[in-house]
Amino acid sequence: MTAVTDRQKLQYIAARAADARVNVELETEGMTLNIGPQHPATHGTLRIVARLDGEQVIAAEPVAGYMHRGYEKLAEVRTYAQVTTLVNRIDWLGSFANEVPFILAAERLMEVEAPPRATWIRTLLFEMSRIANIILFLGDMGVQLGAITPVFFAFRDREYVLDQIERVTGGRFHPNFDRIGGLKDDLPKGWLEDTKAVMDKVRSFCDEIEDLLMGSEVFQERTRGIGIIPPDVALQYGLSGANARASGIDWDLRRDACVGLAYPEVDWKVWTHPDGDSFARFWVRLQEVREATRIIDQLADGVPSGPIMAKVPRIIKVPAGEAWVSTENPLGEMGYYVVSQGDLTPFRLKIRSASFNNISITPWLLRGVYVPDIVTILASLYFILGDIDR
């Protein structure tokens, strides 16, 4: 079991012990509820073994690994260009964002730098995949809480974003577009104007979600005060991304440790929320989508001209060395630790994906909540199974 640090939780356990005595007298017994691996709340194959007393959770433990695909090992027998195809499938809703930190790490080892135009387009696509990813979260949160209408709006408006990604990269979900030293292709004609029009649609989607879902009293009842993560606990469990920012931790790699992307060139804001509950996590993500549309609008206005590829050899052999690059992906901090021995393939690749750390807090967080809140909390933590089991 994980260490319990928070005072409230200790008090809770003491109260539970008192309750347990009553339960012995009444001769009630607990029940183990196996949530998953196939269960609608886990949107994938996460399994949560919950020990229940009535509707209250006494202990819960996530069991990951049902979808482990061994990408770290597979990467060792693939050339650098082939690895992007694999890592596309880690966080499958924001695929392009998975490629970027790997390519940046490889570029650092090779000591090449992408030309400014490539950097800007990378940042554009990075933010587009963030929108495509988080839009679905905003709808899915509704589904998990019983409102099925928002998710249809989410799928409808995500399609506009995916269309734009497809026009550049040729792939809706798995673009495989990033190259060491730049990008595969330049932007198609008229793409930037269309993208700005799509951003208007995304903004109106955000307003719609705010009216339909976030403004609903039932939604607020279900999310406010549910699954509170204090900032110190969030740090201990290594939460990142919106989950950390919703706990009031003002930390965003795009601003604080931006490598090889165009974020310093634009004017944008990191949103945080002091509450740390499920509502805060939803709210922060909603603001992040809005902020992403602002970033894209500004980037689209200022894409510099020039080449999209730096000078790199035809056959890429990465010099021996080690590099760690992480970026602020839709789900949180995602990093690649690349070890090269001067071959065509990486010698070792370590992937740090955000969701794995984000769900590590669930045993701490689910203790003492009611069964319906398991769903709220899991949905608000927002993990993607491919991102947990690489």
Partner: protein, 346 residues
């Protein structure tokens, strides 16, 4: 023993057969219409999609295709299930639904059984479905089903109370438990001496109407009160182990109950089948117009139920209990008090 149906003298078995068949056809037609209109189309338009379009014109035969699919499916039991109870549970739920229709009047002579305690009977019979749900949850031998059934038990019983209390306001106004009398009281009523639109009780009993519709939403276990079948956590609650024809029975029962409650609500609050007495229409005309009127009102009210269902997230179990006990019941009690005072004063 003989009885009259529409002025014809028939043997008891003949009139009973006619009543049962007419009731079945009316209920199934209305239910099918409601499913197509709201579950397939209305909701699709809310969610910016088309809904079924291929089976029949605008997908109007989709429901037949779905029923055909369910009928073909294998009848699956879990290994540990209590087979007898498991099989009986859907029948109990469905019979509770059909028994509700027995007393709902659709015209001066169009009622299967004109009971003196009509509304009391409806509320009593509708509560039977709890039994079927608990049976289903227990017999399925599934933890999700058990939790769903227990949630449903608590919820349905909690929301019986505001429903009964809301109905009491109408009963005080009409001075009768008989649904035909309640309809007649509304048709013959007058508002400050003006009898042109009768006196539908929604005008004076709007509080009771709101409480009644919220309680109906909960009795039907529709969102925001669908914690018993919460598909995102309990998968499908007490229905989780049911498939094929047994699931079909639950499906029919869910929507037929929606129609039944809507018909009861339109009888109690919207004037039922009747047009105002001052319009001077004969019973013969009302026997034709009445069913159309009450069906239209009921279908519109079902629309409200579905509109809410697809707009809201769901309450947690403790929150919906709090709503019933701390909000709806006090409001309904206050409504009864005010109604009684006004009834005596005027």
């Amino acid at each position: 023993m003989s009885s009259a149906v529409l002025g014809l003298e028939l043997a008891y078995w003949q009139s009973t057969l006619i009543r049962v068949l007419a009731g079945l056809v009316a209920v199934l037609l209305l239910t099918g219409g409601v499913v197509y209109l709201y579950l397939f189309k209305f909701v699709s338009f809310m969610q910016s999609r088309l809904g079924p379009m291929e089976a029949g014109p605008y997908g109007s035969l989709q429901l037949l295709a779905e029923v055909g699919k369910w009928l073909q499916k294998e009848d699956i039991h879990t290994e540990d299930s209590d087979r007898l109870v498991f099989g009986l549970a859907p029948a109990v739920v469905l019979s509770s639904t059909f028994l509700m229709f027995v007393v709902i009047p659709a015209g001066p002579d169009l009622v299967i059984a004109n009971l003196g305690t009509g509304i009391y009977y409806v509320l009593a019979v509708s509560a039977l479905s709890v039994l079927g749900i608990l049976m289903a949850g227990w017999a399925s031998a599934n933890k999700y089903a058990l939790m769903g059934a227990l949630r449903a038990g608590g919820q349905l019983i909690a929301y019986e109370l505001p429903m009964v209390l809301a109905v009491l306001g109408v009963v005080i106004m009409a001075g009768s438990l008989n649904l035909q009398d309640i309809v007649a009281a509304q048709a013959g009523g007058e508002i400050f001496g003006f009898s042109g639109i009768g006196n539908p009780y929604i005008l004076t009993q709007f509080v009771a109407f709101a409480v009644f519709m919220i309680a109906v939403q909960a009795e039907l276990t529709q969102t925001p009160f669908d914690m018993p079948i919460a598909e995102s956590e309990l998968v499908a609650g007490y229905q989780v182990e049911y498939s094929g024809i047994r699931f079909l029975v639950y499906f029919i029962s869910e929507f037929a109950t929606a129609v039944a409650f809507a018909a009861v609500a339109s009888t109690l609050f919207l004037g039922g089948w009747a047009l105002p007495t001052s319009w001077g229409l004969s019973d013969g005309v009302m026997n034709v117009v009445g069913p159309l009127l009450v069906a239209t009102k009921a279908v519109l009210l079902v629309g409200v139920v579905f509109w809410v269902r697809f707009s809201f997230p769901r309450f947690r179990e403790d929150q919906l209990q709090r709503l019933a006990w701390k909000v709806l019941i006090p409001i309904a009690l206050a409504n009864i008090l005010v109604t009684a005072v006004f009834k005596v004063a005027f």
